[in-house]
């Protein structure tokens, strides 16, 4: 049996734009199509509501977006890494989740996504779409829908249901829109 090199077929190369970001000491990738806005954490001040749910330590703040809450997930805590000072927030497209990250490493293009090997069999299967290789480094590509499961969003909604929010009609400053 021989480990064959990954196949090179004649189909035109499909690519996907990704953002490489840092959380704690590690680098992850997310599809740029999944990110609606990138903001500075400073934009949270004054508009974020504190969340204190011990079973969801990765969520410490919520933002009001229209008639719904968007929950801010600390990426480092989500991945079980040591928390570090976060500088940016990714507001995810068509999602109730915003992602708190340390910073953007760079934008890149992914031409191949390898499925997560079957031996990875715990939460990481929900965390990642797969693995890609950028500049001879293996980078996990996060699944934008994997940061909060529906049950967790329901729990947070229930927690916030009784709260009255201040008028947040004025949108916070947007640093960058993708």
């Amino acid at each position: 049996m021989r480990l064959a090199a990954t196949s090179q077929n004649s189909h035109p190369l499909r690519t996907e734009q990704i953002i490489l970001f840092r959380a704690s000491t590690q680098v992850f990738a997310i599809s740029s199509a999944s990110v609606q806005e990138v903001r500075s954490v400073d934009s949270l001040s004054g508009v974020a509501v504190d969340i204190n749910e011990p079973s969801l330590a990765k969520v410490r703040h919520a933002l009001r977006r229209g008639d719904r809450h968007v929950y801010v997930v600390n990426a480092a805590v989500h991945f079980g890494l040591r928390p570090s000072p976060a500088a940016l927030i990714f507001l995810l497209r068509k999602s109730r989740v915003a992602l708190l990250v340390d910073g953007i490493e760079k934008m890149s293009t992914m031409s191949q996504l390898q499925a997560l090997p079957g031996v990875f069999c715990h939460e990481e299967r929900a965390w990642y779409r797969g693995l890609t290789v950028i500049d001879q480094n293996v980078i996990p590509v996060v699944h934008a829908g994997g940061f909060l499961v529906p049950d967790e969003i329901s729990l947070l909604d229930a927690l916030n249901g009784s709260r009255s929010f201040a008028d947040t009609t004025s949108e916070p400053h947007t640093d960058m829109t993708l």
Partner: protein, 159 residues
């Protein structure tokens, strides 16, 4: 039934983990590779150390030494890249091994009911009796509960 009636000859790769030798069926083994950089990223499967890049493919590294010998492999020299079939999928796994591996033809006796699940048979080689390993019972991922996924999985990019 006598020993000679039970035994069958098979092609196997002998591998060394510390002081002990084990065997894998040769048709499960792709290659023996030199030590290479292990890429680590966040995950929750403790048996997996990370992944290596081999011929453009990402191969997870799983140290089976602790399960077989009771201690982790200290002096690592090679990765034996082996295949594990699970249902319809074929997973490649890099097994850290110490010492060089050897391809042999040996008599195989199937495992009995009292043998550990990771033993798929016994080899007789140079007067030594060696376990033929069943990777399915030594590596994670064949009996894990799949976690809840929040939303539909987006389409993947393939070259």
């Amino acid at each position: 039934m006598t020993w000679t009636e039970q035994a069958d000859t098979c092609s196997c790769v002998l591998l060394r983990l510390g002081e002990r030798r084990f065997a894998l069926a040769a048709n499960q083994v792709a290659e023996l590779s030199a030590p290479s950089r292990v890429f680590r990223f966040a995950h929750r499967t403790p048996e997996i150390e990370g992944v290596i890049l081999r011929r453009g493919r990402v191969v997870p590294v799983c140290d089976i030494s602790e399960k077989l010998t009771g201690k982790r492999l200290g002096q690592r020299r090679f990765y034996l890249i082996a295949a594990r079939r699970h249902e319809s999928t074929l997973d490649w796994i890099a097994l850290p091994v110490s010492g060089e591996c050897e391809l042999i033809q040996a008599d195989l006796t199937p495992a009995g009911d009292s043998d550990s699940p990771h033993v798929s048979g016994w080899l007789s080689h140079n007067g030594e009796v060696i376990e033929l390993l069943n990777l399915k019972f030594l590596t994670p991922g064949t009996s894990c509960v799949q976690p809840q996924v929040a939303a539909s999985v987006p389409s993947e990019v393939r070259a």
